[in-house]
């Protein structure tokens, strides 16, 4: 595999480009808002006080650092590399999403915004947004596809308990991409008092950079924990990729370490060849959606295709622009796991380790198991366990024909 020079990983450039990807493709009404956000973040992002506050919140409110756990029985089951789990499932609210909402809430507060909006697919980002809004006493509106509201009912109720207004989105395919459209419309309509917390490394600049910076705590911790635990860096990192925030969070602090192989696992749905998946990096082309240029699932006429995945959080036709870049420069391998493989991994991890993973994270587990098998016993592999599966038990039960 040919590799680009380490210095090429300092992206994005000033206007938010990672190579040909990224940028800020939004309507004129929102340009002033994204430019203001960029200006504020450029300044605050260099302020050590800001990061100290962020770290304090992560420690005392989120419960960081999250452990790096050696999954002994899973390792034995696969019979290859030692498998470690980065336990983002243990974070407050149950996923990595909260790392980002803590950071963006600090920005919202700093900017004097009184109203928070968010989009959500699996509901994890919605819950994480509702949580920080409750904590700061801010008004919170969460857009969620009508389809996802059914799939992720427990999270809808959690958001409501936290005081958020959950708005059902009935347009288009009624999933995450449509929730994002609706949030953008809300933002344009309420731009003066509203802060939009995007839940992944997508959207217009500066979101992909900003969300990456907040999520990079995962990789920074994992790096230190690996050095502490086994005195060297891991050989491979594996994370699921929806929009790509948990993956970039783990990968980013390792990008310059040539010896570390990286695998982003997209949702293979019913199989890449079936076309019924959510894997734009495996089976997509570059285009423009939701504020940035990136790989997308589109038809010949440039319409965004409907996606399919058993996990709502991966059911998105695009991906963060930095991943598109990392694919093109061949720094990260983008692979996939199907619905069935993810379901199998879900059960296996639950039974072998007593850890119920989110269906999103189960995709990473599924691929990592295949990979570990092929690696020698002296190798170390880290899976980003991005979230816990409590939210998914109804979905799993339903697939298996069980009524709760």
């Amino acid at each position: 595999m040919s590799r680009v020079k380490a210095s090429s990983f300092d992206g994005p450039d000033e206007s938010g480009h990672f190579g040909p990807y990224g940028g800020a493709f939004v309507g004129e009404t929102l340009i002033a808002a994204v430019e203001e956000l960029d200006a504020v973040y450029s300044k605050l992002g260099k302020d050590p006080e800001f990061w100290a506050k962020f770290d304090r919140d992560l420690k005392s409110y989120v419960g960081r650092p999250s452990p790096l756990y050696l999954a002994k029985r899973l390792t034995a089951h696969c019979g290859g590399a030692k498998i470690y789990l980065k336990r983002e499932d243990l974070n407050h609210t149950g996923a990595h999403k909260v790392n980002n909402t803590i950071g963006q809430a600090l920005l919202a507060k700093h900017m004097g915004k009184s109203r928070i909006i968010a989009e959500t697919g699996a509901g994890q980002h919605g819950v994480a947004s509702a949580t920080v809004a409750a904590r700061l006493g801010m008004e919170c509106h969460v857009y969620m596809g009508a389809e996802d509201i059914v799939r992720q009912a427990p999270n809808v109720y959690r958001m409501k308990l936290l005081g958020a207004n959950v708005i059902s989105v009935d347009s288009g395919s009624r999933t995450l991409k449509d929730a994002l459209n609706e949030a953008l419309r809300d933002w344009a309509s309420n731009v003066d008092n509203t802060y939009y917390i995007i839940g992944t490394v997508a959207g217009p600049h500066p979101y992909p950079k900003m969300v990456r910076d907040f999520q990079s705590v995962i990789g920074r911790e994992a790096r230190a924990q690996a050095l502490d635990e086994f005195n060297r860096l891991p050989d491979a990192l594996v994370a699921c990729v929806g929009g790509g925030s948990n993956a970039i969070g783990l990968f980013y602090p390792f990008l310059e370490d040539d010896e570390v192989e990286m695998y982003g696992v997209e949702a293979g749905g019913k199989g890449i060849e079936s076309g019924r998946h959510a894997a734009p990096l495996n089976d997509g082309v570059p285009g423009v959606l939701h504020g940035n240029r990136t790989y997308l699932m589109v038809d010949d006429n440039g319409q965004i295709k409907e996606t399919h995945s058993v996990s709502a959080g991966l059911d998105y036709p695009g991906v963060g622009p930095e991943h598109s870049w990392l694919k093109d420069v061949k720094r990260v391998n983008y692979v996939s796991a199907t619905d069935d493989e993810a379901m199998e991994a879900f059960h296996l991890l639950t039974r072998l380790e007593g850890i119920i993973p989110a269906l999103e994270s189960s995709h990473a587990v599924a691929y990592a198991m295949r990979l570990a098998e092929k690696m020698g016993a002296s190798k170390k592999l880290v899976i980003n366990l991005s979230g816990r599966g409590d939210k998914d038990i109804e979905t799993v039960a339903k697939i298996e024909g069980i009524t709760l």
Partner: protein, 271 residues
């Protein structure tokens, strides 16, 4: 001289306000879109903005979203949009047609093919709502070479320094968005529109038209007073929505475009 220039200059000479209806290509179907365009011209439209259907119209309100869904349900594409323009051109070679839409269909078609087809179909201008001037260089250069105008939006949130920048890259006319929001919302701050228009006037000689939120004769008149013309989208598209269930019938078509006739009359005595 380009068609847009010809029309806008003669309107200025005659003190005629520009009336620019917007409709979605393929809503309710391709042939009725062509019929609607002709009927709009008869009703007093000076320029037609033709929407390219896109699955994710994130700057549009519910009325236009539904129109796009109707159009896409029948499979209307960017290629069909060009065919609609070509068809319209068989009978009308004088009314400028501006394509309005989102960037992705153009990216997937490829800019070169897009411009080539636009030229072939005899399109006059292009307005891409999610392509900010800063990201527009390549497409704008190609359009310019083909003598097709690139139109940009200015919004209530646009700062003066940025407006200057936008104006530099705009040809044809400048489109001022009357409100902070999506298409089809209601204009609430008429005073700020007036202030902003004065500011823009001082920066450019381009014709300035106002759009978003013009829904009846009264709003058309009050906005046309402040500018060189008005764009009418959702109010017309809402009526076209009612065509869906009905057969092809010239009376129904003209019934939809009556709203444009009424607006024409309402703004005719302004100068």
């Amino acid at each position: 001289m380009s068609r847009l220039k010809k029309i806008t200059e003669s309107a200025e000479r005659l003190g005629r306000k520009l009336l620019i209806p917007y409709l979605v290509a393929g809503d309710p179907d391709n042939s009725r879109t062509v019929a609607l365009m002709h009927s709009l011209v008869k009703s007093g439209a000076d320029i037609i903005e033709l929407g390219i259907p896109f699955s994710d119209p994130s700057s549009d309100g519910p009325v236009i979203q539904r129109a796009v869904e109707r159009s896409l349900a029948r499979g209307t594409s960017l290629k069909d949009t060009f065919e609609i323009v070509s068809e319209f051109r068989q009978l009308d070679t004088s009314t400028p047609v501006v394509l309005m839409g989102y960037l992705n269909p153009l990216e997937i078609m490829g800019y070169d093919v897009f411009v080539e087809r636009a030229l072939l179909a005899d399109v006059d201008g292009v307005l891409i709502v999610d392509m900010p001037p800063r990201e527009s260089g390549e497409l704008r250069d190609k359009l310019q070479k083909a003598e097709i105008d690139t139109i940009f939006l200015v919004a209530p949130t646009t700062k003066k320094s940025r407006a200057k920048d936008i104006i530099q890259r705009t040809s044809g006319y400048l489109y001022y968005v009357s409100l902070k929001g999506v298409t089809g919302a209601a204009i609430t701050e008429q005073e700020s529109v007036s202030e902003k228009l004065e500011e823009l006037r001082a920066l450019t000689k381009l014709p300035i038209v106002i759009g978003f939120g013009i829904k009846d004769e009264e709003s058309a008149r009050s906005m046309a007073k402040l500018a060189d013309g008005v764009v009418v989208g959702s109010a017309l598209v809402e009526r076209i929505g009612s065509l869906n269930a009905e057969g092809f019938n010239q009376n129904n078509i003209d019934g939809c475009t009556d709203i444009i006739k009424a607006m024409r009359e309402a703004i005719n005595d302004l100068d």
